[in-house]
């Protein structure tokens, strides 16, 4: 299977193909965002304008929904990391009894039908009188995000060399000093990836947000869905770009560290 000659020529074929598949649809949305009345059969718009972009980004509704999304997703990220950190440390131990049970429970939301899960969570929140509140939405978002945070952090702790901490302890460092001076610096990359992933997963939720927020907690994906029913390609383009923008955070973090830390 080794054909060095052609392999050299084809070196960039796979990355290029990936760029093409991933970037083309997003680029077309960007073109739609920057044009008006761009109809079949024109392959490209006649002219580009930022009129729509500035109008929609300037509207108070868009801004409010971005602020809401940031607030919800940032809170979710903070809580998810806080609770996942100690749990992941335990899960990363070489011989941990009952690990399978924990993993199955954490895996549960991934194998439930998404619509059923969202509907069920909405009913639970209604019962707790939390439906339609920020807190309700944050609680709902913890369900799909914590498993990701635990997966990334556990993988990080497994690679982490605990002897460093033991040495620090021998040298007289207390718990807090060990965490601040040894563990956190060593796991900085992992933590960053976990945060980015948690944030993006929370930010991307549509159905779960609509149902748990009773339409009252309005995020950008909801504006996008609403814009779909209006059909203006420029509006749809702008809102879609805003909704996709946190994904670029992941891209920025891409590299060895990231790809190595994502595993269930």
């Amino acid at each position: 299977m080794s054909v060095p000659q052609s392999a050299r020529h084809g070196r960039l074929v796979t990355p290029l193909a990936a760029v093409l598949v991933v970037a083309t649809p997003i680029a077309i949305l960007a073109l739609a965002a920057l044009s008006t009345r761009w109809f079949f059969p024109d392959p490209f718009p006649d002219s580009l304008t930022t009129e729509h972009l500035s109008k929609i980004l300037g509207s108070s509704t868009t801004r409010a929904s971005i602020a809401t999304g940031l607030l919800v997703s940032a809170t979710v990220t903070a809580i998810a990391l806080l609770v996942s950190w100690p749990a992941s440390r335990v899960l990363a131990r070489p011989h941990m009894p009952g690990r399978a049970v924990i993993i199955v429970l954490l895996f549960l939301p991934s194998v439930l039908p998404a619509v059923g899960l969202a509907m069920g969570i909405d009913i639970v929140l209604l019962r707790l009188d939390l439906a339609g509140t920020y807190i309700g939405v944050v609680i709902a978002h913890l369900v799909p995000t914590i498993p990701y945070a635990v997966a990334v952090l556990t993988a990080g702790f497994v690679r982490h060399d605990r002897r460093l901490e033991a040495q620090a302890a021998v040298l007289g460092a207390n718990d807090w000093q060990r965490l601040r001076l040894v563990t956190l610096p060593a796991l900085r990359g992992t933590l960053l990836v976990a945060a980015a992933l948690t944030f993006v997963v929370s930010w991307s939720q549509y159905l779960l947000t609509v149902l748990s927020g009773s339409g009252r907690v309005v995020t950008i994906t909801m504006l996008l869905f609403s814009a779909l029913s209006g059909g203006n390609p420029s509006t749809i383009g702008v809102l879609a770009l805003v909704a996709a923008s946190p994904a670029t955070i992941l891209l920025a973090l891409a590299g060895r560290q990231t790809t190595e830390s994502i595993a269930p």
Binding site: M1, L12, T14, P15, V22, P25, F40, P41, D42, P43, V83, S84, V90, L91, R93, P97, G98, L105, L108, S110, L112, P113, A114, V115, G116, A118, M119, G120, I121, I123, V124, R127, I139, A140, V143, I146, V158, D161, R163, W203, S204, Q205, L207, L211, F225, L228, P233, A240, A243, A244, P246, T248, L251, A254, R256, T258, T259, E260, I262, A263
Partner: protein, 304 residues
Amino acid sequence: MKLAAPTRLSRADLLRLSLVVVPVGGLSLAALVDALATSLGADEVRWSTIDLSAYSDVVTRSGFWESYWFSLWIAIAGTTIAAIGAALLGFAWTRRADRRGRLTLSILQFNLGVPHLVWAVALVAVLSPSGWIARLTAWAGLIDRPNQFPLLVNDRLGLGVILHLVTKEVPFLLLASLPLNGPRLRTSLGQAATLGASPRSQLRHVYLPGVAPAFVPALIAVFAYALGAYEPAAVLGVQQPRTLAVVAVEWFRDPDLRLRDQAFALATILLATIAVAGAALLLVTRHWWTHGSQRHVRVAPVGA
């Protein structure tokens, strides 16, 4: 590994674990119980008043089975194609893990972060009969009008939804299965190649058993998503047949509360289907778990 490993969980450890298990597992279970109870016509969980009428109403509605088979077709086709794609790509990249493989993974990772709703909207913009590719085709003089362009989204075969699932889930499967034991697997593949194993045999006997412990659960998650997701089918689907997930959401949001019970009945039917499919998948792939090069199989943390 010189440090003595604690073998028993302290009370503090249990507390630490419960911090993640309670919100995730607890809320999922509560949601599950509530869904079941509602579908059985109970407002509170009172099993004495089990009422199966929501199920019989749903199943006997005209069009139910068409929607069911359509949903199942999309889920099976989407999962199968994504699985084959991810296995082949992952195999190729593991064999010669280099910069370009890493670069490609990073690009795909971007796609993983794009919300499903955005990706579905983007696919419509590119693939619909008046979308960008159709416009290029018209510009090249191959078609005059949009209706001459093949129907790739909002089509009765669910091609658009399947394509969405494949393009979104191949990156997920790759990232879920590859990275952790990539280097280890590469070494095994190299050894197998030295011993004269064909690429085919390397794939079957080394690579697949090597990734299976992560790959198979991820595959079940992909199937569950494909069957129970709302956004892709709502944006890329057709009016008829609609997937059960789309119908469930519509009924759930209808002011008529009887429809809400039926929406939960649909969700429960989807859940049962996932359970059967998941069990079948575990059964089919069991030889990967039991045979193969066990030394490299562990995906779960093995220690530093």
